[in-house]
Structures are given as C-alpha cells and as structure tokens.
Symmetry: C2
Subunit: 216 residues, 2 copies
C-alpha cells in the first residue's frame, strides 16, 4: 500500500490566512473521494476554537471536518476516517494527547495499511516521523515516549532554516508526494548521532522551501 502524506511546515504564511498558502495542495491531496476529514486539534490548548478554525477553512475547500476531540471513541473515529489532518501547536502536548487517547497505532495502521491520506502541519508533521527528537518546541508536558507515528523513516524539523545570511526565506515549506524531489532519502537510513552535523543526513533546499532531514 502506498502511503499518502502531505507534510506542511507552517499553518500560516506571514500575511496570509490559515492554510491559505497550501490550499491548492490540500485539495489536490484529498481530492474528490474524501468528503470528511478527521481533524486532530490536540497540539493547542483550546481545542474547540482550533476545530472551528480548521472547519471553516476546510469547508471553503469542500470538505466537512470531524474533530477527534468531539468523538466519543477516538480510536473508532480514526477507524472510520476517510482522511486525517493533524494541526500544529506544541509537539509535546500533541504527542502526549495522541498516546492518552490511544490513537497512535491506529493512525499508523490506517495510513500504512489502508492508504488513508494523512496531512500534518508543523507539530502534525513532527509526529508523522520516527520521533519528535528534532522539534524546536518546549517540553511543556511529558509524553510517555518521544517515539511518534513513524509514517516516514526519518525525522523532520519543519521550521529548519539554513544559516544563510543572504537568504530571505521566511515562509513555510510544503512537502508532498507530488513534489518528492524536495526531499531525498535512502531506503536504508544510516544511524546518525545528533550534534554531529556531518551525519545529519540529507538536506534539501530550494528557493522557496527549506527542510532538514535527519536520519535516526
């Protein structure tokens, strides 16, 4: 089964509205077959307000939104999902809540075995990787592990910027299967030790997108 992932670095681009910068990618990604998207608002404190924001935006794109925090049985909600979107916020809060509601393995199963499309933004991109060990967020809560959903065989720092003083890149990166040249990785990732830049794996930089990939 081919996994389908849309991993976005930021939910907003300076001066733009929520998900405005990647709305074309979103509609291409979920397509016509998906009618309802299961939204995961766990990364922010106010889940109701966050769901409202996501719901309003997705409705303008033609999708209804169910929020995981409104589901009586979160695991069952994931089992029924046509598409999944995990929003950004604090990565530690998000990962802890995913484990608290026992949906980590179910999301992995749906994406890896059933081909359910998964969209993540910022923290939602972090938790799609092997672990959250490359997040820049502060550890405000203590998750049971740093291991994440593991939909890709590497870690991502969605807010990484090259130390290029001439760069004017201030915006988000969008990484999708349809633009897979943005990222390069081998199918047998090598071991890497953090703190050794020469081992940090491949890095892909285009004019508008900057992404750090770290083998773990």
């Amino acid at each position: 089964m081919k996994r389908r992932l849309l991993l976005v670095s930021n939910s907003t681009l300076h001066g733009g509205g929520y998900l405005d910068h990647c709305q074309q990618q979103i509609t291409e990604f979920f397509g016509k077959d998906v009618r309802r998207v299961l939204f995961v608002p766990y990364a922010l404190h106010d889940r109701d307000a966050y769901t409202k924001t996501a719901r309003n935006k997705f409705q303008t794109l033609g999708y209804e939104v169910d929020s995981l925090h409104e589901a009586e049985d979160p695991v069952r909600a994931v089992r029924k999902a046509e598409g999944i979107f995990i929003g950004g916020g604090n990565t530690f809060r998000l990962l802890k809540s995913l484990y608290d509601s026992k949906v980590v393995m179910e999301i992995r199963k749906r994406v890896m075995e059933d081909g359910v499309p998964y969209m993540g933004s910022s923290a939602g991109t972090n938790v799609a990787t092997i672990s959250i060990s490359t997040t820049n967020d502060m550890p405000i809560v203590y998750p049971p592990t740093f291991a994440a959903i593991g939909l890709v065989p590497f870690n991502i720092n969605p807010h990484y910027l090259d130390h290029d003083s001439s760069s004017r890149h201030m915006g988000p990166s969008v990484l999708s299967p349809s633009t897979s040249t943005l990222i390069t990785w081998t199918t047998t990732p090598a071991a890497a030790t953090w703190g050794r830049p020469e081992n940090r794996g491949s890095r892909s930089t285009t004019k508008k997108q900057t992404l750090q990939v770290c083998w773990v």
Copy 2:
C-alpha cells in the same frame, strides 16, 4: 541555609573565550574557601574534551577541577564537593545523565542544606530550576522526567531574547545572588499556562541582560 547560585546563560560570548565574560563573577562566587570545583560534563557528548576545557579555564582562575564522569562513585563525589559547576550543552542529555548517575537529589541536598555553591551555564542553568520545560534544546534523549534539581522556585529560559527589533543584545545573561535585582519573583509563585504570554511571569531586562522567568 542560604542557597548560593551563579546561573549563567551562555558559556561563551561572541568573540571571547570559554567563560571569559563571567570570570570575575566566578572568582567572586567561589571565593577563596573553595579550592576544588566538581564539574559535570554530561550535557556534551565528549566528556573528556569538555572536562579539559573547563579544567584549563578554572586553573587560570585558581581552582582545581574534578569531573563527575571521572569519579568511581558519582554520589560520593557530590557528597565531598566544595563547589559544583554544571556546564552547558543539550539539556535533555544532561538531565537524563544526572538521573542515570543518581545525583539529582544529592546535588539538591548539598546546595539547599549544606550551602555548597552551585554554578550552572546554559543547560546547567536549566536543570537548576523546577523543570526543563522551558529549554529550547531538541529532545535527543528521553529522561525519566522533566523535573529538575529545583534550586529556584521557577523555570528559566537562559537564551530568551525579547522580541525587540531595536535591541542589539546578542550576548549572554548572568544572574547571581549578588545582582538579584536582575530577576524578580514572589515567594508564592502563581500557576501559569504556557502559551499565554500574559501569564508567563516576571521578565527582567537590563541593557546587557535579558532573562525570561516563567512561573510553573
């Protein structure tokens, strides 16, 4: 017993050598009574090299350095210490190693009950607080808890900079009991929620020092 703490934000200042910017505070802090300082190199991967750096610097200031990683019995080494210095690096690696070697409570006891002077820099300042929840470091290893040594009743982000576009502050902060006006706190800290700037507690900014204090 009065606790004696010298909490430094950075080990180097741009253009200067290791601990050059605070060497006067170091000699004032440890004084003449302390002859040997117990150094904790756990925050960096290469403990031997880190110890050599610290040892060389402290010898120029008149102090011998014993390193915790060279001790056969780390707890016993803390029990015998005249002064303690925990260096910077990765806060998660540091905290995990402190717990692995079972010295967290012993350091706390020596500082809080015996008045042993404690110096921390960067990550060594983070672990002196209630928890490491305000670190900017990446979670490269998984400590058994985020709770830290708890020598002060609040958290510190040693690398915090105000979003002041007119500021030219690029250097470290030095916080010591002798300059306690740099930081303000109440003896009964209020609860705060991260992500709500209005609740983040007191903040102290001087021309050369910038520090964020967060009630937890």
